[in-house]
Structure formats: structure tokens, C-alpha cells
Subunit: 332 residues, 2 copies
DNA sequence: AGCAGTACTGAAATCGTTTTCATACAACCA
DNA sequence: TGGTTGTATGAAAACGATTTCAGTACTGCT
């Protein structure tokens, strides 16, 4: 039925070992190598990766476990990881947890069964602190969310600084009643919140923050409520792309103008943010850098399993657009 | 080092065969089953999937090969496929070809080496016709793009009808100079184009179509040129989400209003289309249905390898928004 | 000529499972 | 009782590759 290395060996008139060596770049005479290549072509041989992985005892595979594959932030990171892995000769298994700790546990177990050489992981808040080095048979590099996570390699945004940056920008524009909307599933929400609070205090303003589910719907519901009750702030900071979109939706639904009725800013420079209303001011994350760096940390960790853990903190860039301008000051 | 089924067997005082049976739900007495479970827990045993797949000769895995993972259409389909696969007890390997035929060939080869049980595939125009049943060791279900593809299972949108729908909608709104922008990498572009042309003729209008690379940048460049040369049409139809975004960008850059300066409509009801300008009129594809149906066709194909090929054509829904309204007719 | 070293090659062991095959024992039936 | 099932179990083969080990043939050197 399916053609194995023995069939190729027979066709080439050599031993299976020689076929294996010829294909794997081992020491084989030019003559036999030619015969093997011809036999491979003639038989249509395809190596069986399961057998190869079993015997050679390395999978040449890493796992990438993200929280939400429909979030452009993660697809962008995934792309960078994929590219870096490819050039390192590794395959990537992409897993999507939907911010669900049970799925996280399931996928981590799957990674063990696949005998992956390492994992890049964006954990939920619930599980980030439970991770400890050596629990799993492979090294883990955290991305996007590291929490306190001592002892784990990680690459994250400087969330505290970024949260502060947005406040400072808004304050510079003259906004004072600034509300924050933060996701309650990840540690990034907390850190961005802390940066927001610190910068508000610094500016002599009183912070007003809400932690909500990280979904468009939750943010939209929250903002709608403000408009319904007339409690909308002058400006809002949304801690990720989904929340940002929810707020914009609510403003359209309530027929409010950006930024005249409420200024709006947040995280993740997704391509649509440029197009919504007057363009949205956002913190742009270095997504490609994050992916590349995570892969780099992982490879270095594989080389030196016992080296101390490293946490790489990357800076965000504030992209200013119309959604936070005060060109035409509202009367308040 | 790593614990194998033999270690579990020893710990449980049974043979490896019994452990295998206990874990796989075979006939094992309640007593031994208990001992095995205890031993598994005690040893921290994790089955080696490579060994399992090698011996059992089925991978319980399917491949999903898409053209662009950053296109929300494909992530949505992927999600549906993933869910359906999960309930069928199958794993999914997700591959991204970037519309590159070489990557397609590479991933198809990889799928052979992984011995997947089947593949769901969105091929580029270049390779769709080269596929023929039986070339690969597994069945393939085409999605989104099927071309003429006789003899292949497929699930696609009724692109011809959808292309016509947009024209009819625009004509009903009073637009007459309607230009089409179509992606040149996929067969969907061609079919949507054909539907566009037919409907234009039907309405007594003369079609004007451009085939361009399926990227935001290409569409933006094209539309910018219109404005620079003063050749912009009254309305434009973009054959996918990327092209649509490119056109919107160009209009913003040229400071044109939607729909007064140019009406705009296209494919894929991505969440941002609701937010851009006055909201964009689009054809919504039944993404979840597409994924589910593809998985269903694949499973049925595995059951009946010799049944005749089936092509499922799903209808699109026209979501009307402000970008095509003539409420305030422009002076032209 | 003899010896050491180098470069290939093939036989056989091995990776960690599942599956086949044989066996033991109990239950059932005539 | 004795034969026939049927069920639970273990020993051993098998899956398809890589890797180890033991040559063999050559080369170069003394």
C-alpha cells in the first residue's frame, strides 16, 4: 500500500540505513545517493513523520498557544513566530484557547503528548501564576501576559508605561474626566490599568476604571449604559482592540460624535482603527518583534536550559489620530 | 527519563497491552482498570502520540490550508472547522500559504508526511485546476475557491449571484457608472466578476473591471489613481475585505465622502465594515456554515471514498448600509 | 609489508505504542 | 460431564523510521 523506506531501499539496491542517510545528508557516496534519489522519485516515497519523530526522539515542533485567534494582535504575532520557526527548521502547532483555562490545560497536555520541544504561550490571568518552570517537559515562553511570573521567560509590552502614555496624551489635549475600560481575563488589563491610575493621579485627576469581559459586546454594553444614563466621560481608554471596537459601536448606536461627544483611544493599531470615525488614537504594539523575540528566547532556552529566566519588555508607540483631538473644543 | 507505557504497566502490575486497553477503552476488568488509572496518575504518564500514530496507522488529524490567516474570513472558517473537527475527535493542522503556490505544494507534501486523514483547502487560482482526485493519499475538500474543479468535493459561495446582487442593489439606488475591483489570485474573483458583468449587461450598463493583487495596498493604489486622474466611478464593488479596505483608505486620503463622492460596496461582513464611514454595504458570507459543511463533506468522503464528488453552493446575504445610499444625491 | 586511519555500507537494535495471537478460566448448554 | 462459547489477559510482532555497531575497502604512512 503505502511505500516505506524499505521499498525505496529495495528499488535502489541499497539498505534502508543508506536511504535514511542519503535523505538526511549523512555520508553516502555520490553514486548511491543518485540511486536513492532516483528510487525516491520512482516510488513516490514520503517519509513518515511519526516514525521519524518516534525514533529520533525530537519532534522539531513547537506549540503556540494563543487566547483568541480572531484577534488580529495574535494572528500578527503568530505570523512572526511562524516565520522565525520556519527559518529555524521547526514546525508550529497553533492552538486557540478562547481565554478558557480548561482549554489551556487541555492544550498544554496535548503539547506534552506531541513531545514538542517548546511552547510559546499567552495565558489567561487565571493560569499565569500557576505555571512554574519544570512542570512540563518543555520550556515555555510567555507572550503578551506575564504577570508576576518569576522564573519564566517572557516577552511583553510595557503596559504600565503605555497606559500612562494614553492618559498623558489625553490630558495634554485638555481632557480631564477620563474613564478606563480594561479586560478582566488577562494580566495586561491589570498592568495597563495600573499605568492609567498612576498617570491620572500624577495629573491630579481621579481615575475611574471598569474591568469587563474582553469582548466587543461587553464593551458596547458598558458604553451604551453610560450614554443611556448620561454618565459618559470626556474620554475613554480601552485596553484592547475588542473593547475599542465595542465603544465605537456604542457611540454610533447612540449617535455620538468622536471626539466631540467623547474622545476615544486604546490599544492595538489594527487596520480598521485608521478608518473608524476620524481615525482612532492607539498604542501600537511591536507585534512582529514580539513574535520574533519570543522565538529567539525559546531557542536560547533550549540551548541553555538552566540559564536564569529573562523577561523582555518592549515599548509601545502612540499613534495619534483624530479621535483624541480638541481642534473643535466641545462645550463642557 | 520519560515514562513509557511499560513503566505504567510495571507500576500497575499488568502487561503493557492491558494498559493500552485500559486507556483506549478496551475490555479490561474493573479491578485492573483501577490499578492502571492509579499507576498513570502516580507516574505522570503521557502517551506518545507519534508512537500511537505510527502503530495504529491513523493520525486522527486533518489539515486546513488557507490562503491568508490575517483575513478574518479565513479565521472565522478556521474556527468553525476546528470546532467541528474537535467534536469528531480530530485534530487540525492549520497552514497559511500567503497565496503562494509554492507554499501550497510544500504544505500538501507536509500533509502527506503527517499522514493526515484529509485536508480542507482554499487553493490559489494557479493550483486549483491542477488538483485531481487521487493525486494525494488523502481526500481534499475545497473551500471558498473551487474553479471548474470537477471531481473534487467543494463548498463555496454563490459568487456569481452575489456579484450580481451588488450590481442590482447599486442600480436600484440609481448608480450607473459602477466599477469592479477583483482579486487576481483566486477563482472567486473571476466568478464575482462574471456575476458583476452579467448584471451590468442586464441593466444595460457597460462593465468596467480591474483585476489586481488581493491586498489593501494594491486596491488603495488603484483607487488613488482614479481620484488623481479624475476617473473615479459613481460606485465601486470590491471583491473581498482587503480590497474594500484599500478603497476606503484611498477615499480618506483623497478626502472623498462616502457615498456622496463615490459609493462603495463589496464582500465580507467583517466587523469594521459597520464602523467605516456611514457603514459599508457588503455581502455577508455564511462563514460558520462553510467551515461546518466542509468538515461534514470530508467526514462523509472518508466514509465513502468512491461516492461522486459533491459541490455545495451557499448563498450570500446582502447587508445594506450607508455606503450605497442615495438619500442625499450628489450632483453628477 | 604492515598498520592506522578514513569513508562507506549493511545488519540489527531501537523508539513507544497498538494489535494479533495464544491461553486461561468461567459460564453456559445439551 | 464435556464441549462450546465468551471474556480477560499477556507475550510477542509490528508500525517505519534512525542509530548503533561492526565490518569492508581504501588510502596514506612508516
Amino acid at each position: 500500500m503505502t511505500v516505506s523506506i524499505k521499498d525505496v531501499a529495495r528499488a535502489a539496491g541499497v539498505s534502508p540505513a543508506t536511504v535514511s542517510r542519503a535523505l538526511g545528508g549523512g555520508p553516502v557516496s555520490a553514486e548511491l545517493r543518485g540511486q536513492v534519489e532516483a528510487a525516491v522519485k520512482a516510488t513516490g516515497y514520503r517519509p513518515n513523520l511519526s516514525a521519524r519523530r518516534l525514533r529520533s526522539r525530537h519532534s522539531q515542533t513547537i506549540g503556540l498557544i494563543v487566547a483568541d485567534i480572531s484577534n488580529p494582535f495574535f494572528t500578527a504575532v503568530a505570523r512572526a513566530v511562524e516565520d522565525a520557526a520556519y527559518t529555524a527548521g521547526l514546525r508550529v502547532i497553533l492552538c486557540n484557547t478562547d481565554e478558557n483555562p480548561q482549554k489551556e490545560a487541555m492544550y498544554l497536555q496535548l503539547m506534552e503528548e506531541e513531545r514538542v520541544t517548546g511552547v510559546i504561550f499567552a495565558p489567561t490571568r487565571a493560569s499565569v501564576d500557576k505555571l512554574s518552570r519544570g512542570t512540563y517537559g518543555f520550556p515555555i515562553v510567555l507572550i503578551d501576559r506575564a504577570g508576576r511570573a518569576s522564573g519564566q521567560d517572557a516577552v511583553v509590552l510595557d503596559n504600565f508605561a503605555a497606559g500612562g502614555m494614553l492618559v498623558e496624551h489625553l490630558v495634554a489635549q485638555g481632557y480631564r474626566r477620563i474613564t478606563g475600560l480594561f479586560g478582566n481575563a488577562s494580566t495586561t488589563g491589570i498592568e495597563r490599568h495600573d499605568g492609567y491610575v498612576a498617570a491620572m493621579r500624577q495629573a491630579g485627576l481621579v481615575p475611574a476604571a471598569h474591568f469587563i469581559a474582553p469582548s466587543i459586546e461587553a464593551a458596547e454594553a458598558e458604553a451604551r449604559q453610560w450614554f443611556a444614563q448620561g454618565t459618559a466621560p470626556e474620554a475613554v481608554i480601552a485596553s484592547n482592540g475588542l473593547l475599542l471596537m465595542g465603544v465605537v459601536r456604542a457611540m454610533r448606536a447612540a449617535d455620538k460624535r468622536i471626539p466631540q461627544d467623547m474622545a476615544i483611544t486604546g490599544f492595538d493599531n489594527e487596520s480598521w482603527t485608521e478608518l473608524a470615525g476620524p481615525g482612532l488614537t492607539v498604542i501600537e504594539q511591536p507585534v512582529a518583534d514580539i513574535g520574533r523575540t519570543a522565538m529567539k528566547l525559546l531557542l536560547e532556552r533550549l540551548d541553555a536550559p538552566d540559564a536564569p529566566a529573562r523577561k523582555v519588555v518592549l515599548g509601545g508607540r502612540c499613534v495619534v489620530r483624530g479621535s483624541t483631538s480638541r481642534a473643535a473644543p466641545a462645550a463642557n
